[in-house]
């Protein structure tokens, strides 16, 4: 695969939104608004498949700087549409990209992170935090990583710049997706994922590329709050937003009376309701 279009801008944020059971387009919309609130002037691109493209409205286009069609949808038959992740290298309109999962919002600027990211061609965020902002030591979701000595990376937030090294990384990722069954059964230990998950794919790709080339262990602030239950000591049977109080003081978000300073990977998609979208729209409207 080759880039079809030249880059449109120097730097920006990108996510992939393919609607299925979850309306990822709306999550991307909220994410874009959180970026515009915290980092005015930042550019935001969303990559969508043909079906999702039909759902993009004028409201969305007011905050999306670029809406890019995913022409080669490799996840058509998949409910958990992860197989297209590697294509982001070829589709991003930016020379330097921060790639995000759609269910992350920002509560304050991370603009200064760009300077740190530029120490590498590609940087994957490492580790995650609980809602108390403490680095998590919970490993219950990371057994495959520990069993296989994979780097503790999260694809939810990563940086890459247009470079040979980044291209090599995404080519590795592509090959891991394509050859997933073999890699799972013959290379990885204790991995029983029927479909490849992006975190594992990128961890294996990082291992192939050289972990030292795509992580910045000394920049331990490059990570996000992960709202998965175990990480926060919450019950798995109830979504966190039904378990503890949250307050929007946009762009700040308080969970259980604690300000969320790091990017917030809210994980529970049901947290995004019409009310929350309206809060963001109103706040953005007040500032523009």
């Amino acid at each position: 695969m080759r880039r079809i279009k030249p880059h449109q801008a120097q730097q920006g944020f990108v996510t992939i939104a393919q609607n299925g059971q979850v309306n990822y387009l709306e999550l991307a919309y909220v994410q874009a608004m959180s970026i515009k609130l915290t980092m005015p002037g930042s550019q935001y691109a969303v990559i969508v498949d043909a079906d999702t493209m039909l759902q993009v409205t004028n409201k969305h286009r007011q905050v999306f700087d670029y809406v890019i069609l995913l022409e080669n949808d490799l996840a058509k038959d998949s409910t958990w549409k992860l197989n297209n992740e590697w294509q982001i290298f070829y589709l991003t309109p930016f020379k330097e990209t921060i790639k995000l999962e759609s269910d992350i919002v920002f509560t304050r600027s991370i603009a200064h992170w760009w300077h740190t990211f530029r120490l590498r061609n590609i940087v994957l965020s490492q580790g995650c935090r609980d809602y108390l902002q403490q680095t998590s030591s919970v490993r219950s979701y990371r057994r495959v990583f520990d069993d296989n000595d994979l780097p503790d990376i999260y694809n939810g937030l990563m940086y890459f710049r247009y470079s040979q090294e980044s291209m090599n990384f995404f080519k590795f990722a592509e090959q891991i997706y394509v050859n997933w069954t073999y890699i799972r059964d013959h290379i990885l230990k204790n991995c029983r994922d029927s479909e490849p998950t992006t975190d594992v794919v990128y961890a294996v790709a990082a291992k192939l590329l050289g972990v030292e080339h795509c992580t910045l262990p000394s920049a331990d602030f490059i990570n996000f709050v992960h709202m998965k239950a175990d990480i926060n000591g919450f019950s798995k049977t109830t979504p966190w937003h039904e378990l503890v109080v949250y307050e929007l003081d946009l762009p700040m978000i308080r969970i259980n009376n604690v300000n969320q300073y790091h990017p917030l990977h809210y994980y529970e998609k049901s947290w995004i309701t019409g009310d929350i979208i309206k809060e963001y729209e109103d706040e953005l409207g007040r500032r523009i």
Partner: protein, 272 residues
Amino acid sequence: MKKSNVPAKSKGVLIFAFNTDVINYVTIAEHTARLAQHTLNLPVTLVTETGTQTTYNFDQIIYVDNILENYKPTKNAVYQWRNGDRYKAYELSPYDETLLIDSDYLILDTSLLKLFSQTFDYRIMTYNQKPGQAWDERMGIYSLQYQWATVILFRKTVRSQMLFELAGRVQRNYSYYFNLYHLSRGTFRNDFAFTIANNILNGYDQGMNQGIPWPMLTLSEPVDSLSLKDRLIVIKETDKAYVVPRQNLHIMNKEYLLSDNFSTFVEQICAE
């Protein structure tokens, strides 16, 4: 050297003690006051109920009324617990710089005095431990870790005043904060009130706890005896004994604090 014209700031210890049906907190406070005055060489003021008789020569005794009454469940019984209105310490303290302590907190070293050489509005005991193990409990299963109102140092500043006023607001609206912070107990606790007040005052930022930098040593089990040996404290409980470096102690077992054994220990310290 030219003498400063700025008058020295007054400094003292403040203890709240209200007797209950079963525990004579004022007697405990008198022992605590003796230890504090002896160790820190600071005046001690008692806040207690109008009409309470005392034998110790306090710097001042401030009488208050209408103290909140609670009931504290323990392993074996439910005790009356008159722990309210601690938030009034700010307005009641006669000192510019106050060391506010629970009556069951024994001052056996000068560490807190040294803390006053630093710049701060207030400092709250944040870390607690039992002998040999950490004690970092939360206010409820899904709540925040709490701080200990057992020891609070404060200066008369706007920020300190806000802390105490916020703690008062939490006391007056406890059922609201009980739900907001997912507290596990309905019984009002000063620890919780000051933790919540501190959380709000710090802009909900967990990184700014305004804590005293070292942990408090708490004895939660019944104590048989305390004794000093050189620079060590020998603690004997029913079936265990510990030897720890000399330091301040938080003793939850009130029976010991009212025992002759404890009086003897206080005599031993004050005879040094």
